[in-house]
């Protein structure tokens, strides 16, 4: 019986971790290339969720199927990433303290804008519960879908980064922007691409996350499972700037969380909190992460 429970928990954990991996990848990318810890990441995820909601609700003429919602979320995430970089980050890149505060304020600016948009423009009753449908009919199939696309996207990203010219340029910039400039890489363009790709991942993750947890919320970036903090946790656990490390980190956090919720007495109340505690402990004990910041692959 206990074995059965462990098996069920393991399956849940694997599915959950796949979702977490998508959430964290965009964050890793931006850090790896620009050295920026993007506190607006949670807001990008929220934007994706909201675009998914708009596409699938009847706010515009017809309610589209969830596939269109996923597409809309991804596109909206990519757009907001690109706009944030082009509009603001580009100008303050050499001032680390400013960037930190700016991404933080930008992030909350965006989610407040979403709250106001949801409540006053699109007439959502409760901006804390914005309905976004699941991708698949049943919860299990939905989990499988998330798992499969998660690994598919990770594979594509690996291929992109390691085997295409643009991807290699990204690695080059992450290693040294001066060296990259010497061989003719336009760092500005690479940064823009990174922010766009990261935004797209975030947007996609937003739709999936909201679907998997029943509904989205304007505060979702800091409400359990708090993707903003989660991605920090994952990325710090795995080592900053390493994609492989982030995937490992996602699975560690996913497993830790599922097992706390299932096997620790009174664990339900700890959902979303356990990863935070794990993060704080990890930050204090091994701040450089499991994989460290090696090559910025």
């Amino acid at each position: 019986m206990v074995l059965g429970e462990i098996a069920t928990a393991t399956v849940t954990a694997i599915f959950l971790s796949a979702l977490y991996a998508i959430i964290a990848i965009g964050f890793t990318l931006i850090f790896g290339v620009g050295g920026i810890l993007n506190f607006a990441h949670g807001a990008f995820i929220t934007v994706g969720m909201f675009a998914g909601f708009l596409a699938t609700s009847d706010a515009f003429l017809i309610a589209l199927p969830i596939w269109a919602g996923l597409l809309a979320g991804t596109a909206a995430g990519a757009l907001i990433g690109a706009v944030t970089y082009l509009g603001i980050i580009r100008y303050v890149r050499d001032r680390p303290v400013t960037i930190l505060i700016l991404t933080f304020v930008i992030g909350f600016f965006i989610i407040y804008a979403i709250r106001i948009g949801a409540r006053d423009v699109f007439g959502v009753n409760d901006p804390l519960a914005i309905p976004v449908p699941q991708v698949m009919g049943t919860a299990f199939l939905n989990d499988v879908y998330i798992f499969v696309t998660s690994w598919l996207l990770i594979g594509l990203l690996f291929y992109f980064v390691n085997y295409t010219r643009t991807g290699r340029a990204i690695i080059a910039v992450s290693q040294s922007d001066k060296g990259a400039a010497l061989v003719g890489i336009d760092a500005e363009k690479i940064n823009l691409i990174t922010w766009t790709v990261a935004g797209a991942f975030a947007g996609y993750a937003g739709v999936l996350l909201a679907g998997a947890f029943g509904n989205g919320s304007w505060l979702m970036s800091i409400q359990p499972p708090a993707p903003l903090i989660l991605s920090f946790a994952i990325v710090i656990l795995g080592g900053l700037g390493s994609i492989k490390g982030s995937i490992a980190g996602a699975y560690i956090i996913g497993f830790a969380e599922t097992f706390t919720v299932n096997f620790v007495p009174g664990g339900e109340q700890l959902a979303g909190v356990s990863s935070l505690v794990l993060l704080v402990v990890f930050l204090l004990v091994k701040p450089e992460g499991l994989f460290g910041r090696g090559a910025g692959e």
Partner: protein, 416 residues
């Protein structure tokens, strides 16, 4: 005499002399006189305002104190805190719980009926309790701050209020020993703590007119602001303040002169936390809307108050203390203008203001104004010919500077 080092001779006498010289009003720089004038004007504000406006403005005083609290640690030592509401909540809940769940039941149990003096003493004890709780919170955040730097610390400070919020829910009914009646969950503590001055019975001094109530609340809050200002101004203008700034610039340099940055960082955190907790504690007994709930002490979105405080300090100028006062005025002005025209857009415009200030005026209003004022004075004395500053360094020097910067960046080995 000329060769006397700072440690020779009668140090105590010279120290006294220096303090006296600093306190002489007639020798104060113009900006300090302007500052004193500004504080004086704040003190006279109740002469002009209606009770309702005055209540709104009293809140601004608390915003100032909160921003000062942030500035002490983040503006001076550069340890960015993204969740300062953690300390405010500790202070506010600390005093409410101390008064309502410990002192009042205890005194009731002893059969003591509290007169005005007794209630005041109980309130003061509560404020001390709240400040201590917040200071403990400062230690709690300050110790990890020794191992973490930059964004990691900011992250921990962002998580802290979220965890606290969760624990208010988890211990909503009862927190053994510390808070026998619980922390009230999301709706906050329904039992309001007694006020210094109030209209109802739940106050040390009962008054019957709205304006007396508003004016009294204003001046008590103003007194708290003066205390906060005196403490933080004193510390940041002392040698400790220089060390704070030095930590922000280069921690290794601080170590190399034999000072322990860890000690100063913890000190900064505890001071900041105590100031924030004190302000929140006074608010619970003297402020407008003094309800100890999460909406007041964290902000409606759990994190807004923390952001607002940052925006206020950034607009005014980080690392100046005084900037927080000016920033809060700007913030409140913007907020009330927006509230009058497009209330549904709140708080977007104030965040936008913060973003614009960060991008285009990163040093803040007060330092820029000081710089401009100096320029103006120099212009009046005829030392410079134009009010607008021009880059007067030669092209060759600029080029050399740029190269030096690049080389230092390459051989610095600091990483990113």
């Amino acid at each position: 005499m000329a060769t006397e080092t700072p440690l020779e001779g009668d140090v105590g006498r010279r120290r006294k002399q220096a303090v006296k010289e600093k306190l002489l009003l007639r020798d104060l720089a113009l900006r300090h006189r302007l500052g004193i004038l500004g504080v004086g004007l704040l003190a006279l504000l109740p002469l002009l305002a209606q009770p309702r406006e005055l209540n709104q403005f009293t809140y601004v005083l608390y915003l100032m104190m909160f921003a000062i609290s942030w500035d002490v640690v983040s503006g001076y030592t550069g340890q960015l805190s993204f969740g300062h509401a953690f300390f405010f909540a500790l202070g506010g809940y600390g005093t409410s719980v101390t008064v309502n769940q410990h002192l009042v039941p205890l005194l009731d149990g002893l059969g003591v009926t509290l007169g005005p003096v007794g209630t005041t003493v109980v309130i003061l004890a509560g404020i001390v309790g709240g400040t201590l709780v917040a200071a403990l919170g400062g230690v709690l955040i300050g110790v990890p701050a020794l191992r973490l730097e930059g964004p990691y610390l900011s992250l921990v400070t962002l998580i802290a209020p979220l965890l606290l919020y969760q624990s208010f829910i988890i211990f909503g009914e009862e927190l053994p020993v510390l808070a026998p009646n619980g922390l009230g969950g999301t709706s906050g503590l329904l039992n309001e703590p007694p006020s210094f001055v109030g209209i109802g019975t739940n106050a040390a001094v009962t008054v019957d007119q709205l304006w007396v109530d508003a004016v009294a609340r204003y001046y008590i809050s103003f007194l708290a602001l003066l205390i906060v200002l005196a403490v933080t101004y004193g510390v940041t203008r002392s040698a400790a303040g220089s060390v704070f700034t030095a930590i922000r610039e280069d921690e290794d340099a601080v170590q190399s002169v034999g000072l322990n940055p860890a000690k100063f960082k913890i000190f900064a955190f505890v001071l900041s936390a105590a100031v924030g907790g004190f302000a929140a504690a006074v608010w619970m007994h003297a402020g407008p809307n003094a309800y100890p709930n999460t909406e007041n002490l964290f902000g409606p979105g759990r994190i807004d108050l923390s952001i607002n405080v940052i925006v206020v300090a950034v607009i005014g100028g980080m690392g100046t203390i005084v900037g927080s006062l000016v920033g809060a005025l700007f913030f409140a002005f913007a907020d009330s203008v927006i509230g009058a025209f497009v209330p549904e857009l709140k708080p977007l415009p104030t965040f936008l203001l913060g973003m614009v200030a960060l991008t285009f005026l990163p040093r803040g209003v007060v330092p820029e104004a000081t710089r401009f004022g100096r320029r103006l004075l120099a212009w009046r004395r005829g030392e410079v010919d134009s009010l607008v500053e021009r880059d007067r360094t030669s092209a060759a020097k600029r080029t050399v500077d740029r190269y030096r910067e690049e080389i230092e960046e390459i051989i610095g080995g600091e990483g990113r």
